[in-house]
Every structure is written in structure tokens, then in C-alpha cells.
């Protein structure tokens, strides 16, 4: 048997599915003794598994028909590129980081109210919801706005305070600001609107206010209050202010009312927990996971939360507990990707921390339970490395 060079080993790793048995054996021998190539083999296997697990990118049938029609009608690329709502990849530029990127945003987006109280004063309702689009327009090419120039994107009028470069993605309902300063005036409506810069995203929240028979108090956004004949009583009642019919004019309360933000969703809590674990903030991460479990998660969310408990134990240096938690998830949710991930995590952790025989047993359990699992190749490779002739 010839000794395989690292160059040939890398080539063999990339052709893994097409190797003859003798070549596989050569590769195996090389990987046992070369950590660098073994690392590369792990990377390739993992990326292939992840790519295979990705749902296929597919357009909708109506979209396909439209593209075919356009191609056959000889619609050229050039006109589409010129239109502001032509194309965008939904990405923001990183190469213009040197340019000052500041966005000033004025948000005034009153929402339709619940049925208004049967009193003379009424709160102006928003405009009717925009007509539903059957299919969002394709995202746009970047637009340059000179200072003072305005343009319309989605339900917002955008004016450049300083020369600005923006790109509108109708599908994401997001305006990407890559340079300059803009003033954004968002109309009422039900659709999302956001402005994204390199460092943050500003999302329109809409308006939140409390109305009684005699009073309206705005907690977020702003509203207009009209008399029964439609004449304005208060042109603009902003967040933190209240108006009462018994009072002749709007008064600001001594202290702004405390606005309780809506409770974060289960998904958001789990995402936070993940970030906190990555930063080794274990107590905070645990609090988020527990809150997510109390918030009535779906079955998949519960599987994810229980997996995160395993991750928590692992990061906290309690591998035995982590393995036990992963195994529970793997067995209870073996129809979900979370179960697949957790089972393999248990096996991998046991290989590191437990007796080798126990690690092999978990790898075998993984392969038996998930014969088409995402990590089947890696599990089989680890078993071979551990001395199993599989």
C-alpha cells in the first residue's frame, strides 16, 4: 500500500463517494495519522450533510410561468436592472463601512383600532390596509438619493438628508441603507417595514394606545384625535401622552407611563438562549430556556429547548448530564431534525468523555435510529476510527 500524501488525501476526501475500497483504506490510514486532513474530512462531510439537509430552492409555479414568459418575450436584463424595484439580493454592503452610516427615522404608523367607544371623540383610524399583493415585486438594484431628494419604497417616503445609497427588498419589506442619512416617513398599514444598516435594523412597531370612554393614552407611536364632525381635537398625540375629553387640551403626564413590552416569543427566547450560551452566560441562558418552556412551545420548539438544556450542561462542564439530556431528546423526538442532532451530540460527547465502548454503542444507536441521518457518514467514520470495521 502506498503512503498517501496530504494533497492526494484531500482529493480522496472530496471524491469520497467514488472511491474504490483500496482507496478508502489508504485514506483511512492517512486520516488516522493526520489531524489536519481529518479536520478537513470532518468539514467536508459536515458541509455536505448540511447542504443535503437544506430544503431545495424552488420558485412558485406562478413565478416560474412569469420568468418563462418574460424570457420568451425577450425581456432583457438591462431594463430590469434600471427599474428601482428590479432586484436586490437582500444583502448590505460591508465595503463602505468607512462611510458614515446613520439613519434617522421618524415613525408614525397608527393602526386600525378596535371598535371606538360610542362617545363624540374618536381616534382617527389608519388608512385601509394596502391591497394584498399576489406576489411581491422582485428586489431592487441600489438607488442613489441626492440630498433633499425623496423616493417611495414600500409604504414609506424616504428623503435623503445627506446623499444616500439604499436598496429596497420588497420580499423582506426592508430598506437597506449602505451610505448616507435618510428621513423615513412610514404610512399606516399592516405590512412590515424596516430599515437595515450594517450595524442594526430599525423595525416599525406600529402604534399602541389605550382608549376608554373618556380618555386616550398613547404608549407607542402616535395618533390623531378627531371630533365627531371630523375636526381634529389633537393633531398629534405622541407616546407617553394622554388626552381626555374632560380636559381642554392634551397634557403630558408627570411621568411617562410604563410600557410593558410584549413578551418575547418562544423562538426569540431560544435564539437569545443560544447567544447567551455562546457567550458562556449560563444563568441568563438557563432563564431564557426555562421561560421558553413555560410559554407553551410547539413540539419542535420544546425539542429545541430541551436540546439547549443539554448544551447548557455541556458548557457548564457537566457532560454526563448533557449526554442524558441529548439522549432523551433523541429518543423522544426521533422524527425531528432536533432528535437527529441531539442523538449525534450525545454520541460525540460520550466518545470524548466516556469509556470508548459506551461511545461506540451510542454511535451504533444513532446509526440504527437514523439510518438516513445527517451525520451518518461522520458517525460511520468515527466508528471505523474507534476500531469498528463498519
Amino acid at each position: 500500500m502506498t503512503r498517501l500524501s496530504c494533497w492526494k488525501a484531500a482529493d480522496a476526501i472530496e471524491r469520497r463517494d467514488h472511491l474504490a475500497d483500496a482507496e478508502r483504506l489508504e485514506l483511512e490510514t492517512h486520516l488516522e495519522g493526520c489531524a489536519r486532513c481529518a479536520e478537513y474530512a470532518t468539514l467536508v462531510a459536515s458541509v455536505r450533510a448540511a447542504a443535503a439537509a437544506e430544503p431545495p430552492r424552488q420558485l412558485t409555479p406562478p413565478r416560474r410561468e412569469r420568468l418563462i414568459d418574460r424570457a420568451l418575450s425577450g425581456a432583457a436584463d438591462a431594463p430590469r436592472e434600471a427599474r428601482p424595484r428590479g432586484r436586490s439580493l437582500g444583502w448590505i454592503a460591508a465595503g463602505v463601512a468607512a462611510t458614515a452610516v446613520v439613519a434617522t427615522v421618524l415613525l408614525w404608523a397608527p393602526r386600525p383600532t378596535a371598535p371606538s367607544p360610542p362617545r363624540p371623540a374618536r381616534v382617527a383610524s389608519s388608512d385601509p390596509a394596502p391591497p394584498a399583493q399576489t406576489e411581491p415585486a422582485p428586489p431592487a438594484a441600489p438607488s442613489q438619493l441626492a440630498a433633499g431628494v425623496g423616493a417611495r419604497f414600500g409604504r414609506a417616503t424616504v428623503r435623503a438628508i445627506e446623499p444616500a445609497t439604499v436598496r429596497w427588498d420588497d420580499r423582506a419589506e426592508t430598506l437597506y441603507l449602505t451610505a448616507g442619512v435618510i428621513d423615513v416617513d412610514v404610512e399606516p398599514g399592516d405590512r412590515r417595514f424596516a430599515v437595515a444598516t450594517e450595524r442594526f435594523t430599525v423595525e416599525v412597531l406600529g402604534t399602541r394606545f389605550v382608549v376608554s370612554a373618556t380618555e386616550v393614552r398613547v404608549e407607542r407611536g402616535a395618533v390623531r384625535v378627531l371630533g365627531p364632525d371630523g375636526t381634529p381635537r389633537v393633531d398629534r398625540l405622541a407616546a407617553g401622552h394622554a388626552w381626555s375629553e374632560s380636559r381642554p387640551r392634551a397634557e403630558a403626564p408627570a411621568a411617562p407611563p410604563r410600557v410593558e413590552p410584549p413578551a418575547p416569543s418562544v423562538r426569540r427566547r431560544l435564539a437569545r438562549a443560544r447567544r447567551l450560551l455562546a457567550a458562556s452566560r449560563l444563568d441568563d441562558a438557563r432563564a431564557q430556556i426555562d421561560a421558553a418552556l413555560r410559554a407553551g412551545p410547539s413540539r419542535r420548539e420544546r425539542a429545541e429547548a430541551e436540546t439547549l438544556l443539554g448544551d447548557h450542561a455541556r458548557v457548564a462542564g457537566r457532560p454526563a448530564e448533557a449526554i442524558e439530556r441529548y439522549l432523551r431528546v433523541g429518543r423522544a423526538y426521533d422524527d425531528l431534525a432536533e432528535g437527529d442532532n441531539a442523538s449525534f451530540s450525545a454520541a460525540r460527547l460520550r466518545m470524548r468523555h466516556g469509556p470508548p465502548a459506551a461511545g461506540r454503542a451510542l454511535l451504533e444507536e444513532y446509526l440504527a435510529r437514523y439510518p438516513e441521518g445527517r451525520f451518518r457518514d461522520e458517525a460511520a467514520r468515527r466508528l471505523r476510527s474507534a476500531g469498528d470495521p463498519r
Binding site: D11, E14, R15, D17, H18, E32, A35, A38, E39, Y40, T42, L43, S46, V47, A49, A50, A51, A53, P56, R57, Q58, L59, R63, L67, I68, R70, A71, L72, G74, A75, A76, D77, R80, R87, L89, W91, I92, A93, A94, G95, V96, P138, P142, R171, Y176, E198, R199, T201, R274, R275, L277, A278, S280, D311, V315, N341, R348, M351, R352, R382
Partner: protein
């Protein structure tokens, strides 16, 4: 001459190729409609999980319609369209603006990445890992990136990648080698991918 309009989707109506070459709209619609799902998958695989598909599919179709009169049918239509799509993607990636852009979520992710500590462990799911790898692939030249994706991630043999990219096998191997060398170095230094490299601890 036998009808050379071969496709892995099965037999086509006799003479469809001639009609497509002649610009018969109905025949072109039939062929494109049948091939679009495979084309979408091919382009989707090349551009990665975060890029928009529509425009690249559109451009591919426009080029294909224009090129059909010269298509002799020696190759399967699917492969011929895949070659057009591969060139569309490479041309697209060459655009300076595209190459400067990174998705916002990846910028946010990198700021969340903790400082590298030997004992720190991160929870990275497979999809985030794939995105991270594509983030590194985006730093490569478009041709090296494309060759790597087709050969290493999609597992296509070198001769097929060479045919898709209209180049020699030697050049293809060279592109894969250069891409591999860079990707290994970047991935090894990336804390977000570190949990992949636990092989050393297992041995």
C-alpha cells in the same frame, strides 16, 4: 438524425429540439417548464442559502432562449442549461458590488462570536454552519468558488465540473486546490466552526 433532445426527465416529443431551435414558443415553454426545477436547484446550490434566486434564473432563461438556435443537442438539455446557469452565476459573482456585500445576519453573528477560548463551546446548528462556510466561500474568486462548490459540496466529478465551467480538468483541479487551501485556513481560524474540529480530542 435521431432526436438528440435528451434529458434525465424522460423522452420528449419527437422534433422538439428542431422546434426549439426554430423558436417555437410552445416547444420552448415545454422544455423550460420541465427543466426549471433542476435549474433552480443547480443555481440555488451555487449561490448558497442566502442569495436571491429569481434574477439568476431569469438571466439563465433569457440566455438559454437566445442560445437555443445554436444548440445541437449533443449534450443533455439539463447539462447544457446547467452550464449556462454556471456562467450566469460566475458573471454575477464577479460584479464588484456583489463581492463586497455580506448578509447582515452574518455580520451580527460574527459580533456574537465569543473570544476564542479553548474551553468555550458554541451551539452551532447545521444551517448556520453552512452559511458560515458560504461566507468564507464568498471570499474566493468566483471561478475557484464555483469549482469548489460543484466538486466538493455537490460531489460532481472533475470532468463534469470542467465541462460545466468550459475549462480543462487540470484547470479545474487547480481551482479546487486553491479554494480548498484558503477555506481550510479560514475555517480552522473561525470560532463558529470550531466545534466541527473535535477530531483531535476524540483520538
Amino acid at each position: 438524425m435521431t432526436d438528440p433532445l435528451r434529458s434525465s426527465d424522460g423522452p420528449r416529443a419527437q422534433g422538439d429540439l428542431e422546434r426549439c431551435r426554430a423558436g417555437d414558443r410552445a416547444a420552448l415553454e415545454r422544455v423550460l417548464r420541465a427543466e426549471l426545477p433542476a435549474l433552480e436547484r443547480h443555481i440555488g446550490g451555487l449561490i448558497g442559502p442566502d442569495r436571491d434566486l429569481d434574477d439568476l434564473v431569469q438571466r439563465t432563461l433569457v440566455r438559454a432562449v437566445r442560445a437555443f438556435p445554436k444548440f445541437r443537442g449533443e449534450a443533455p438539455v439539463r447539462l447544457w442549461l446547467a452550464r449556462i446557469a454556471t456562467n450566469v452565476v460566475i458573471d454575477h459573482l464577479r460584479t464588484p458590488q456583489r463581492r463586497r456585500e455580506v448578509p447582515l445576519r452574518l455580520v451580527v453573528d460574527s459580533s456574537q462570536t465569543p473570544a476564542a477560548e479553548p474551553s468555550a463551546e458554541r451551539v452551532v446548528d447545521a444551517r448556520a454552519r453552512l452559511r458560515r462556510v458560504f461566507h468564507h466561500l464568498d471570499r474566493l474568486s468566483p471561478k475557484n468558488r464555483t469549482a469548489f462548490i460543484l466538486h466538493v459540496i455537490e460531489g460532481r466529478p472533475v470532468h463534469e465540473v470542467a465541462a460545466l465551467m468550459k475549462t480543462s480538468q487540470v484547470t479545474t483541479r487547480s481551482r479546487v486546490f486553491l479554494a480548498r487551501r484558503s477555506l481550510r485556513a479560514w475555517a480552522h481560524r473561525d470560532p463558529a466552526l470550531r466545534d466541527l474540529f473535535e477530531v483531535g480530542g476524540d483520538r
